[in-house]
Amino acid sequence: MGDKARGGIEAAGLAARLRVLVGAEGVIESAASLLPYECDGYTLERSAPELVVLPGSPEEVQQVLRLLWEEGVAFVPRGAGTGLAGGTLPVGAPVMIGTSRLRAIESIDLENRRVTVQSGVVNIAVSRAVAEAGLLYAPDPSSQTVCTVGGNIAENSGGPHTLKYGVTTNHVLGLEMVLPDGSAVTLGGSTEDTPGYDLRGIAIGAEGTLGIITRATLSLVRAPAACRTFLAIFDSVDEASAVVSAIIGAGIIPAALEMLDALIIQAVEEAFSVGFPADAGAVLLIELDGVEAGLAEQSERVQALCRSNGAREVRVANDETERALLWKARKRAFGAVGRLAPNYCTQDGVVPRTRVPDILRSIAATAERHQLRIGNVFHAGDGNIHPIILFDERDKDEVRRVLEAGREILEACVAMGGSITGEHGVGVEKIAQMPLLFSPQDLLAMTRLREVFDPEHRANPHKIFPDAKFCVEARTPRRQAPM
């Protein structure tokens, strides 16, 4: 639906007409310049768009979409291209619309703790703009130094701090979206309560299939006054998992609870010599935050719980430098893994947090069955796992086994009551797994909803929902970006 072959675009003189709307610098059409747009963080498949348009304002987005609507051309929205599920891969959509020039922070209202930004604003720029006032924008995906607010909204992004602070949808008051016909709508608003249906809730996490987000009003939270960071070392992932449950069972909600398993620990140690015992089975990074008053007692309790559940050692960060050191192991895990094998592929799945030991056992069994090495570094507090499968893409049989293993892991997540994606989205990558979670009727309900906004499937077609016409056949897993 809505796709148009290259010939059609040329015949319509589309590039020239788009240049009139957005200026010469806003239209990219040479093959070499289009190369960076052929994939996002999901590099399994590549397909360059025929044109990239970079509108200079939300109003230009409307003009561009109106033109595409009249010409019957489908489009793909793109923020910074850090997505990990191929959400911005052009499939049956010749024109890509980037938000990289929509960089204005339009208003900052410190008293009411709100900011209004254009969708191409980088996530971290929001927090930086309000840091002096002691406020921050809570969602913090690991790509936050480059990823955009618009992309975060499209994916309903999370981050290491979602356990305590929630995900993107909990922090967006309103957004402006341009529908495929070029009309702009405001969903939600500047106030917390708006009359009518919560349409904003549907647009958030819709992966660009309803329109292009051009502006958003975000709510800010107070930056925590203090924090305490610990690193606990265990003999096994079961012990570390027991501590996760014990902490939460004690009524403590840490700001972050991240786990590294043996393979990752060894990789990190070999690469950076951070001082992990070679035989450690699991490492837990725990961060508490809040007001100073209660933190001392809470951190004592957390340390006690670690020790009583078998931690062989608990390291405490005494200052910001030591804190950075503890986080280094977590943040550098992906770099370290890069040294173990020519390629790696990161999965994203969710299980109820009490099933973390079970899913890790299941992943180990999968690894053994397929003769693969799989490491785990993940958000243990949320049950959001990120198995990293190591491989060599030149070994075609290994590649086949990697894909097979990835599918098995997601199936195991669903069987344990979880989900096929906690924060990366479905994109093109997980379309085939959607029926594991949803019935044909559930999927039909979602498709019908989509058609309220996008009756012709012009906005990011062939994403999220299984559709016979553009069945994606995975061949080479090469996604290496950290999350």
Partner: protein, 390 residues
């Protein structure tokens, strides 16, 4: 007419019969919040959710709970408390509020200031759409971005997009202690300034403004609630004590909080709800008091300082109309709203004859109509309850 289906299949059969019978179906729990709809419930066929009551699954260690739509919050709270947990949503008349009602009417209370509302805690939902088909959205885990976020669409939809069968929420540890600091009453503008100063000193668990007649005979009383560990609560109260001197410590703060929540839903009152930027609350409350001066004895003002929500209560239609005439236009112009949130049936019908209960038609009404038609194509689910004919 009342129906009490005992299974999803029975409810689906009712929905499938509705077009031929000409039924407009309204799912109801205990009826505690029937006054919140736009179109009157008088001509609707009530589908009671008592057959879908009960706690389906509570995984304390996962901090999630799945409950039938007909379950009362009171029952759920008791169950969760045994595991040291709570679902931190505190609507008026919480004991008798059902899960379905909480979601359909998007009810909340003072705790929204720190704990969020249903949209922040709902993980998954099972509904029957207007075709009688079972539609599932979301899931049972705390993090999940697979597919469209259907659960949130049902929140505040007044039952018009689906009959809610069950819902899964994330729950939280119960705070060890909850205290409040009750400031001495003052004028509206000073009260809002004080509320902001209290928040700057220590992040409150809740922050309410109670107008004349609620806690004090005259003036606006700011109440800041602190919840959490003993040390955190003590430190918050100590900092507020320094800012709002002359106030008093309320150790039974949860009861006071419930009283303030319940005050927003007095059974015989018309309740207007304004949504606006929090720092405009002072001006709004002052204007509302002035407009309602002639009805001062029977009218009440309450507000939530961090949310930017004010409620004006009166038994008098002229007073309600005067508030709407004086305040709605300016609020809407500033991106806010003023709606009739609830009113007893007779008063609601009388009001509707003279004004729009929900205010200006939203600019996105076409999308809303489209969403309604996609999920309820035959128009059999609570048509007219949301407002603007849908």
């Amino acid at each position: 007419m009342h129906e009490i289906p005992q299974s999803a299949e029975e409810a689906a059969a009712l929905i499938r019969r509705a077009p031929a019978e000409g039924w407009n179906l309204l799912a109801t729990g205990t009826g505690a919040h029937l006054a919140t709809g736009d179109a009157d419930e008088g001509n609707m066929v009530r589908v009671e959710t008592a057959g879908f009551a009960g706690i389906r699954e509570h995984s304390a260690a996962d901090m999630t709970v799945c409950v039938g739509a007909g379950t009362r919050l009171g029952e759920l709270a008791e169950h969760l408390a045994r595991a040291g947990q709570w679902l931190p949503i505190d609507p008026p008349r919480a004991e008798e509020t059902t899960i379905g009602g909480l979601l359909a009417a998007n009810l909340s209370g003072p705790l929204r200031a720190s704990q969020g509302r249903a949209r922040d805690l709902l993980l998954g939902i099972h509904t029957l759409d207007g075709r009688g088909d079972l539609i599932k959205g979301g899931g049972k885990v705390v993090k999940n971005v697979a597919g469209y976020d259907l659960p949130r669409l049902h929140i505040g939809a007044c039952g018009g997009l689906g009959l809610i069968l069950e819902a899964t929420f994330q729950v939280r540890p119960r705070p060890e202690v909850e205290h409040a600091w009750v400031a001495p009453p003052c004028d509206a503008e000073s009260a809002v300034a004080l509320a902001f100063a209290l928040r700057a000193a220590a992040e409150p668990g809740w922050l309410e403004l109670a107008g004349s007649g609620v806690l004090a005979a005259d003036g606006v009383t700011v109440v800041a609630g602190a919840l959490g560990g003993h040390a955190d609560v003590e430190s918050a109260i100590a900092s507020w004590r320094g800012i709002a001197a002359g106030g008093r410590l309320e150790e039974n703060a949860a009861a006071l909080r419930r009283r303030l929540a319940d005050a927003t839903a007095a059974a015989d009152r018309i309740v207007l709800k304004a949504a606006l930027l929090p720092n405009r609350l002072g001006a709004l409350l002052a204007a509302a008091a002035e407009v309602g001066a002639a009805h001062k004895e029977s009218s009440t003002l309450l507000a939530q300082a961090t949310a930017g929500v004010a409620r004006m209560l009166t038994p008098s239609i002229p007073c309600a109309l005067a508030w709407i005439a004086a305040l709605r236009g300016a609020l809407e112009e500033q991106g806010g709203s003023l709606i009739v949130e609830r009113a007893p049936s007779a008063l609601r019908q009388a009001l509707r004859a003279q004004t729009s209960l929900r205010g200006a038609t939203p600019a996105t009404i076409d999308l809303m109509r489209g969403v309604k038609a996609s999920m309820d194509p035959h128009g059999v689910l609570a048509v007219g309850r949301l407002g603007w004919g849908i």
